[in-house]
Subunit: 122 residues, 10 copies
């Protein structure tokens, strides 16, 4: 069995930096651990951003999400940290991260955090 | 059988108070009693808020909802009271509570109340 | 068999008149008669309003809807009349009535009428 | 306003009596009165049958359904009576009537009655 | 506030005892307590039966379901007990009870119990 | 067989001309011919408008739609022509016509045209 | 404008006549005329068959369906006639035709006719 | 962080062993590792069984599913092993396990394995 | 650009050959060419089989499906050929292949072919 | 087999250039190759535009999409290039292209690019 991947988001050059356009990605296979009980949590992470000079490299994004598998993480915190890491990695003009977590104790939770001001795109 | 829980919402520190972000929670298992007939009413309660210095603690939210189980409550009133209690507990920058009640007498009712002005997010 | 109910909407005091909030009700069991042919028409009536000092009393709303059962009514007219009666009964800050009528002659019709200017609620 | 139609189902000749085939009809606009309270009940009536020498004439079916509008009728009884009337009118090889009634008191009810043994049709 | 209703299912005469037909009822508003933790459980109860000489009276069914509101009950047990009570109350030719319980601990549970052999209908 | 109807939209007086309200109609049974190949095309036509002094008469609308059955018509053109005819017939304060055409050559096409500026209705 | 196509279903050789397999086709764009009123009717025609030595040629099926466009046809009759024509054209081991017609007078009608005994597949 | 739970399914007495009834459970939060690449796999596991003398204890089922989190497991193998473990733990009269795995390489896979012959339950 | 893959399905040993169980796979990304016009066709291929001594290896299945990308293939023929190749590759106890092709000329086509007699599973 | 079509979008005159209206097209059958691995990628391309003097000719659009079948193309790049080609071909007043790509590595990607400022259309 390979060990867990390093947490890192790679950037690749944006082929159309002269235009404001949106990239939207959904990762329905996110899992981490509850910091209180150590039990697994499951979520769909959704990312939307308007790239500036760089795009997120897809394979590194997959490994990045995988890197949370053994880590304890509160819903509100992990969603904001993913946004911070995305912003640092590709310096987008605008970005939004949604953490859509499964029901726990009869309560469904969804966290939505954004960075910057969204350029006007249709 | 344990007795009904005390009605109280606990607050925990917001790990990212420097950013406006949204927390959305759905509680599909809300039940109270009709103040006119004493018969059970059922609803889904949905909460959205932008935290300031505090978040709602999840377990206390579950117990808070449970505390209405034996109480008579009008649809319009209980939805506003949940909003009031949420605002008092975590002093959010903005909050919204929706009470989505089951059909009674062939009529479906949904109450929507908000507090403050929503910061611009996404 | 009881006779048809009198057409009347009762008002009850709004327990939270200091806040702009929305009440939404759906009545999927509305039926009246086509004034041209005398044949039954069926619709879902949807009401949304922001109460001022009064709320619509639910049982009177059920009877009010029932009172159209033997009456000839054009789609556009009856939707506007329900709005007028609602406004007169509870003097809301804002109100909207939608009449969503079943297919007749291969055509589906929906009428939407509003009263006042909607206060800003999330 | 025209008075209520007479309760009668008309038959027309089956153009293909040599073959077992199925006719299925759905009438989502059925309404009658509750015999206990006099209040309106609403249902979707579904009919399936394998015709023998006759088909149900569609316009008479529409008027037949309309004829229940002012009549008190229990769910279980009215569904069986529609089946009886259908059988008497067209003497099908097999027939099934479903009465799918709207929620009352938080309970949804559906009645299913059949006549004869269904011929084997894929 | 009225006290909890007595647990009792009333029977009314079947108006069509000469025919095998099916009655299906769904009660989406069932709640009881977890016998381990005392916390509320929620379920949709579905009942199907072929009546013999009696039908279940609807209002008593509503009160019967309500009577579990303060009682601790395991999923498998309560579903079977509802079936037993139904059988005792109306002596149906066949009956089926399904208890469709909400997610607990990331697991959704549904219990299905039947009584007798279903007559061939449709 | 009757011949095709004349293409004409009739107007009837608006019973509530003092209020801006919306009428929405969907006609899922529109068919015309492809001007290139002569083969049938199928579409759902959707109309929304805010009436001024007149409403569209429903039966004439049905016949109007029927009148395209034998006519060759490009998607973009026919949608705009229906809007023009509607505007001429009832002089609405605002109107919108959508032509939602079935897949041809693996491509789904939808045309949306509007007239005037929509009054503010919730 | 080309004239209406001749009503004819062409057959092509079945490449796998040694195996019982099923071909299922749906034609959502069927239209004919009501023989009573001359007004258009619309339906989805669904065909399933187990071929013997021949398959239905697809383009001829499209033209065949088109050929009903100007013809008066009762629902029950036209569904059976399509089955007859299919059987004559390709002599299948088994066939089924469903005519799923749009709502008329508040009633939805679906006709199902079969030919032969279906071989056991899946 | 607690270590992974031991793989064990606990049994509790069946309160109604005299009746054949079905227990159905869905666990949408199953994850293991791909034995080829070490990368995470995700699945919904569905279990249905007819208990004999014992039921599966719910909390042990949750921990059992969790115990696969760090283990390499082929789709076909793990589904059959879960069935084997279930059978050993509660000796059901009949059991079925479905492993419904997420898309990999553009292919969605679902494995279905059963034990014993299902008693006749509605 | 790499050249198209060789058409070959690989087999791997079945880890549970002593049990009849079902493997179901869906491949929504199948494309080939129309032999008449050379234009692309698109389909979802669904496979279900009960393995004997071997399973289909997943990566070879993905490449196998890809190998049709440049090939002309009739719907009925290609579905049967995939079944033949599957049977030859893994000699299943039973197998079923469905080819669910996109609309062409307003007609949706689905082909279903099976091999052997399905063992009784669930 | 015909060779791949030349990549070219043809324009036809806009029959209603005096009005701002929207044309929306969905092409669910787009496929290209991954530039990294050479393996097929699949997407739905959606186009919306407000035409000025010209419309996109539908058949050329179909062939244009087909022309990507053998070409390596990154998601972000190909969506922007389709927008560029559309703009050059018909010089719209506004245009939007969405590339909605299938899941790869557990990640779903959608790219949205626009040209110009959308005129106000309802």
């Amino acid at each position: 069995m390979p060990s867990r991947p390093v947490r890192r988001l790679d950037a690749v050059p944006n082929p159309h930096p002269d235009r404001d356009y949106e990239v939207a990605m959904a990762i329905p296979e996110f899992t981490c651990l509850c910091p209180m009980t150590g039990q697994p949590d499951f979520a769909t992470i959704r990312i939307r951003y308007v790239p500036d000079q760089h795009l997120v490299e897809l394979k590194s994004l997959k490994l990045y999400m995988w890197s949370y598998r053994d880590e304890g993480a509160f819903h509100e915190d992990v969603t904001n940290r993913i946004l911070d890491d995305l912003v640092e990695a590709v310096r987008p003009r605008w970005a939004e991260v949604t953490g859509d977590f499964n029901v726990r104790g009869g309560i469904k939770t969804e966290i939505l955090a954004t960075y910057g001001k969204r350029p006007e795109i249709a």
